[in-house]
Symmetry: C2
Subunit: 475 residues, 2 copies
């Protein structure tokens, strides 16, 4: 039971210690940055996937799976794209003991795997929109320091790819994706900002990129996903055309929407505290842990009652763990606290006698729940827990941004900064130098700080073409 | 609407045509043997996975996921294993533009990925049994002709790996796996035979291998899975040891259980007919298709009733497709028949008026179902369909094996053959030569043909150490 570092003081060390203490990932695998999903971590991942699948399928997308390996010939067709990824892909060059005729790339993302096939699938306007997604692993030969979930070399990845009749329809799909992500983020209790990335930081091959960023304390940010509008940039080299209702042949307009296991990292980073992980109910590997006191006396009333409670809550659809091993209760409480379980139910002789369970949620709220109506009481308790957790995250989010009106002011930033920007690239780079980070881009919709209209570009002082932009230090 | 080849006459052509006509897999991807899971095929796969997960988790196994890439150094530790796989693995040799320090193998199976980590996870007898599984893709550089689902280079794979306290416990896990597979096969309506493979055909590194084989007509068979007992064969090179309750240090005994997308191929091959795919309800991408007649007149009663039926059955948990497009009903019937949907509900003006649905199952059974109690009627209809489908497969299975008592008799085999065998490898090879196929091995439990005890070895005529064995021509 080593003490965790303090989140507020040593954020990165705290994060690494929480992932390890919660038993979510094993990074002792003998390839750096390729980690093992433990049973506990895999449960969280499965729940994360379930939410993603639910929300994306609600928008009419269908699941598919394309191969992991992409021939070099296809990979190289879109010139910006290959330039963007060339340095960070793994190459398969041999099958058995023979060199391959055409080298194969381990997909870093699947545009170049999917689009030759989309060209076969899309023939007429009746085939559109084509909205498909896959949840697969992708691979990047990272040269930066790797971190579980946040920067890894094998990435658990969600990617939607769509073909639309025209630019307006593609813009509509971008909006639909942002709305779907909003619903996911609500399930995770995770406030975020959608930011249109500057030209020099958009996805390789995109017309524009909207990133989903979260603040992590100080000026730190983490990109947890993105939505891209490709216009015809990929449709032209891959020949994805259709016959319109007027008989003309046109290129489709494409979009993509990407998320990854980073979401799990973000959930840990945002909700976790100095006592370990804190999972929102939707993601929690176990929603409820039941602990009989004293432990491991089979036939005792507390033991019997605890087992019955676990059975009932499981039947009600809850993910429940009955911890009836021989350890002392304190050790169990510590374990499930570090592991972030939303609700613990303790059953002692007194509770068993009174027909009650002593409930403690992961934020420390205590209550006594009647066994007679336990399922409903657990529903209410977990709803209140999720609400409190989301409110804590929302309060932290609100204080994570502040205005800045002077470049000199940026260096000492202790939040993400909202600045006036004229839109010029040169000014953008001056802002990046000043904060020693990145111009994240222009927020979609209402910016996080209510500062009225910007007065001038923080870099050049012009009052023309002004917009709010965010600047921070991406992890 | 091209006619399919006849299953009884041109089995392989028929199989390939059904996969294509049903729209389950797209093999136009530009790497041979790496196919695209279409939306329809992916739905079948998801249902297949659901059954596998349900049955394996019922035996206490937990899901994990290990990395796709295995360092050459780990891969080479178990000598038989590397010899078995060396010629058929893909090698990653470059990251970006640099050669890797250690080449990486794309996993053909995950023993050598998992076992170095198992050595860290298993410390004491309290950590045992360790029963974990993963559903991932594996890769084999196949040199034989590839076939969708049956022989591919990227394989959708299920693999359970366990560590047990001793050989007896490992033998028990083998039995538990065989029972779990029996439950899966029941859900798929798929009769199979479990066969202990001969020494010369066991898994690379195994103590023994039990294969799950199905007959495919003629003497053809298809291995759809396997369960292996490893004894300490991997535990020793990978150092997987534990402290027993008596304080001694021992090696674990290991088992594995493997299944793959071949199961989907087997389901298609066994249940399909000259009119296309036939899916058992548990696997069907859609369980029910609802067709209003005439089509595409919004506001018509048949259209309204069909939509309401689709809504109700979906709410009852059924996977339903409402086909209310502009095509004529015949084209829709043809499409969903080829695609193997178990039940079609037709709603014309007469049915809408009478409060009924005309039901036709994929085996041609017709019935009229009352809309008032439709959910229950559909339940009963699908249960009857699954039963009839399983019975048809069982009848076909019973006639797929016959006794043979003379080597000369084997060449002209029109079934899988059950033969007396003395157990000697030389005799095994003579049987294989005679049938121009393989000695599949010795059936576990009751052999498929009730032939009493074997009289003599079909190859050498001895009456010592006799057992029944099966011989056939694996696909």
């Amino acid at each position: 039971m080593a003490t965790l570092p303090k989140k507020a003081e040593e954020f990165i060390d705290w994060y690494l210690a929480v992932v390890e203490a919660a038993g979510l990932s094993d990074k002792r695998y003998p390839v750096k940055g390729m980690n093992v999903w433990t049973p506990y971590g895999f449960r969280a991942r499965r729940n994360l996937d379930r939410v993603m699948i639910r929300e994306i399928e609600a928008t009419g997308a269908e699941a598919v799976e394309f191969p992991t390996l992409i021939p070099e010939t296809e990979f190289a067709k879109e010139k910006e794209h290959i330039k963007g990824f060339d340095a960070q892909v793994y190459w398969v060059t041999r099958g058995g003991s023979s060199p391959l005729d055409v080298n194969l790339v381990l997909r870093p993302t699947s545009e170049t795997a999917m689009y030759p096939i989309f060209a076969l699938w899309v023939r007429s306007h009746q085939d559109l929109p084509l909205n498909v997604y896959q949840i697969v692993n992708t691979f990047r030969y990272e040269t930066k320091t790797t971190r579980p979930f946040v920067r890894v070399r094998e990435i658990h990845f969600f990617e939607e790819h769509t073909c639309q009749v025209d630019e307006a329809a593609a813009t509509g799909r971008v909006a639909s994706n942002l709305a779907a992500f909003g619903r996911m983020a609500t399930a995770f209790g995770l406030p975020f900002v959608a930011v249109r990335r500057p030209e020099w930081d958009k996805f390789a091959g995109a017309y524009y990129s909207i990133a989903l960023d979260i603040p992590l304390g100080g000026a730190r940010t983490l990109q947890i996903g993105s939505v891209h509008h490709y216009r015809e940039n990929f449709a032209r080299p891959y020949g994805i055309r259709y016959e319109a209702s007027d008989g003309t042949t046109r290129y489709v307009h494409q979009t993509t929407f990407g998320l990854s296991e980073r979401l799990l990292g973000a959930i840990l980073a945002v909700h976790g505290d100095d006592r370990g992980a804190v999972f929102p109910t939707a993601i929690a590997p176990f929603e409820v842990v039941v602990v009989p006191i004293p432990a491991a006396r089979a036939g005792d009333r507390p033991q019997q009652v605890a087992a019955e409670i676990a059975r009932r809550l499981t039947a009600a659809g809850r993910r429940v763990h009955l911890d009836d091993g021989p350890e002392r209760p304190g050790a169990k409480y510590y374990r499930w606290e570090v592991r972030g379980v939303p609700l613990r139910l303790e059953i002692g002789a007194r509770e068993a006698e009174a027909g009650e369970a002593a409930a403690v949620d992961r934020l420390g709220q205590r209550a006594v729940l009647p066994l007679a109506t336990l399922e409903a009481a657990v529903d209410r308790t977990l709803e209140a827990f999720d609400r409190a957790l989301a409110e804590r995250a929302a309060a932290s989010f609100r204080s994570a941004f502040s205005l800045a009106s002077d470049l000199a002011d940026l260096a000492a930033s202790t939040t993400v900064r909202q600045v006036g920007w004229c839109g010029a690239e040169a000014c953008g780079h001056r802002i990046e130098t000043a904060i020693d980070g990145a111009l994240l881009g222009v927020p979609e919709g209402t910016p996080p700080v209510d500062g009225g209209s910007p007065a001038a570009c923080i870099a050049c002082g012009t009052t023309d073409g002004l917009r709010w932009a965010l600047a921070g230090r991406p992890l």
